[in-house]
Amino acid sequence: MDELEAIKVTFFQECEELLADLEGGLLAMQDGTDDGDTVNAVFRAVHSIKGGAGAFGLEPLVRFAHVFETLLDALRSNEIPSTQDLIAVLLRASDVLADHVSSARGLGMVDDAVSAAMAAELKAWTDPSYAAPPAPEPGVPVEAAAPVPFVMEPEESLEDDDLGFDFQPMTITIDEQAATVFQAIGDAWTVSIRPKSDLYRKANETALLLRELARLGPIQATLDDSALPTLEFLDPEAAYVTWTVRLETEQDEAAIREVFEFVDGDCELEIVRGEAPVDQALAALLNPVETAPAPEPELTIAPPVVEQPIIAPPVVEAVAPAPVSAPAPAAPPVAANAPAAAVAAKAQQIEVPGPGQSVIRVDPERIDRLIDLVGELVINQAMLAQRVGEYGIAPSSNLAMGLDELEQLTREIQDSVMAIRAQPVKSVFQRMPRLVREVANMTGKQARLVMDGENTEVDKTVIERLADPITHMLRNAIDHGLETPEERKAAGKNPEGVVRLAALHRSGRIVIEVQDDGRGINRERVLSIAVKKGLISPEIQLTDEEIDNLIFLPGFSTADKISDVSGRGVGMDVVKRSVQALGGRISIASRPGLGSTFTLSLPLTLAVLDGMVIDVAGETLVVPLAAIVESLRPKAEEVRPLGPVGAVLAVRDSFVPLIDVGLTLGYRDTSPSPTEGVVLLVEGEDGSRAALVADAIHGQRQVVIKSLEQNYQQVEGVAAATILGDGRVALILDVDAVIGLRRREPPRSADPTLIAAE
């Protein structure tokens, strides 16, 4: 059972990749950047999902995937032309398919009505008769006259449950009947299929193969059950039957062979041009299996025969094949041909952009462990360097030079290890087209998402937390940024708005930009709303930029009416806070009538942090650089007492509360005068500023973040710990908590110079 669960997990992982391929392919088709193989790749993605889902008995998923696949198949065989409308439908169908996958996984539910409507829409595309009065399918004429026991018609089988556990009873013709009455119109082929039990085990099914064949042209299928043992000897899991199919098609052998692409190796296949008497074909197929169970080629290909008269294929293997006077290379025996063909088929498969190729799946914990170890290596190396320095060894000595090399290697290892965990932002970006479609639908706007820099890499720890801010920003851009199509037309713009989502590296950080070409921020309205809601005082004069940034204030919302999408006033301030929690910053630039751009900048990793190393009351602390606005040495006249115990620092006309870190954290009971130390001007997540007083600054350093909670617990005022070059633990200051502590804690001393009080 556990094993099955494990396989299921893998299946869902693959589903994710397949869904991504599917959407990617469809988007390429939408943009017209697809090539001939794109539609095949898209089809294969859906087919593989269906196949896997079948193996796990995920009925609703299979059923939907099946309808989807049928349409894709019709598209791929050019039965229906590829249009923008169709691709839009397919994209929405891919969303529903994704829902089905999530639901099968136990995450979320599928809206049955939506799914059913989508399925109906898909069916209507393949089969106009599904929605409209039935019309004969052009490609598949129904041969009423022919004594066909089993005519496969796609339309019929569509209704069937695809799992095929409920086979419809089929009549079986006697051999001689099948051999006789064929009308020789078009090019006739004889295809013999002898499934191996593996075929069924992999949730494939001959009925599907027959249906695929039927797409190529009218077929007549004959079942040979002569190998079927009596019930008592019957192995329920074994395969006994053989199909012989007479197919009329314009397509070539490759097209027929493609039908069997997914069962390659799982069935014995023989494709002969012309109309082989069924019994001979069968004999050809069965004999080698029965007489020579030795190494049999998985795929047997008879050399094509030129003349159209009925010619039996050369008997394979058992007898030395008669040289065939045909374009095919005469001499090589069929058996020798087969592996080559199999190789060819394999080679074809490798081109498929399937999952798992050239990619190793590694448990992320192993990588995390590696990163920890490298972190230790870096610390050790720094300790070693410090010791060597203490012993006064000349920098030109071999030891010092060796140490330099070690340092370089260590850095390289660290970079490479971090690169292992780095992932392209694609995994987040690829969820966005769907979001844009849905939001655009909901708001009645036309939006096109343009993505750039999907391959920009960033650490896994950051990736996981990018999705929320981007989602918010995109929603905001469509809901608030873009105008309705009518408004856009009136403004002389393309009714379809463009939202651009881009990722890039800039100075050691990752920058995400969300840009729309909408109306831009209506500053007058923003200002009046902010004043009305009491967020700012009406007298304040603000620059355009400052007004734009008002939208990040908590409780701010400009939407006229609250929509489902955004407009509850919890949007942008939440985004800002979550971004700042990651050590990032967010800003907005807007041009009225031309649109707005949100810019989000984040550190590349959450495993290391750029910090300022400071000294407080004999303890070494690290302050995250992202929080620091500036550092300065205060002059006596800039420090002003406020109230009995408080003090503020005058910074260019504004007053910032002074906080002694040592006092707040309880390292000392009285604080020295701020003029003796250094002041770090910091900005909290909510934008509030404070001046942290430290004794000394040791400089800027990149530190490896270590959790305190793992072995102890969260400590107020401390974000995490790190290990410095001397091997000692230093605490990383949680700037917001320190500001908060000052507000809450009662004053500990009556020292009027400085305080923690309100």
């Binding site: 170890l373 230790e376 954290l665 909670e709 102890y712 005022g717 290990i723 091997g727 633990v729 605490l731």
Partner: protein
């Protein structure tokens, strides 16, 4: 943890590491002990109870150090280089217990463990699983899972 089996299960021999805290002898199950190291200065933790000496770097991991004497209600003594800390695993956390010295390894069966007498104060009773009498010595077995403060309680 498996080594925290109730003391009344008899038969199985267990090994304990005994150590001195002040003038008293205590012990912990040897299976919980990861290593024993000499004292090195710890980085103080703000907003923490007095028995938390701070954190040190143990091969790249941040290890909290608990002063066992203070935890057991004895006065704090400034540790010297002769002090050691015992690295133990309790629940899923690894901590260091600062003690005066490690004395020896005992091999006992659970029937040697007597319940803690009523005379002790509640705090001590809480941390002690039982008392072992051996060669005229009295050794108290520490209940490790009760030593560390509850995470939730403090975080709240």
């Amino acid at each position: 943890m498996t080594d925290q089996a109730p003391p009344n299960i008899t038969g199985e021999r267990r090994e304990l590491i005994s150590f001195r805290v002040g003038q008293q002898e205590y012990c912990v199950d040897i299976m919980a002990v990861r290593e024993i190291r000499g004292w090195s200065p710890a980085t103080a933790l703000p907003q923490s109870p007095g028995y938390m000496r701070g954190v040190i770097n143990l091969r790249g991991a941040v290890l909290p150090i608990m002063d066992l004497a203070v935890r057991l209600g004895m006065p704090m003594v400034e540790p010297t280089v002769r002090n050691v800390f015992i690295v133990v695993k309790a629940d899923d956390r690894t901590i260091g217990l600062l003690v005066d010295a490690v004395s020896d390894i005992l091999s006992i069966t659970d029937d040697l463990v007597q319940p803690t007498p009523d005379v002790a104060c509640d705090r001590v009773r809480n941390f002690i699983r039982g008392i072992i009498s051996l060669d005229g010595r009295m050794i108290s077995e520490i209940s490790l899972d009760r030593l560390l403060p509850e995470r939730e309680a403090v975080a709240a």
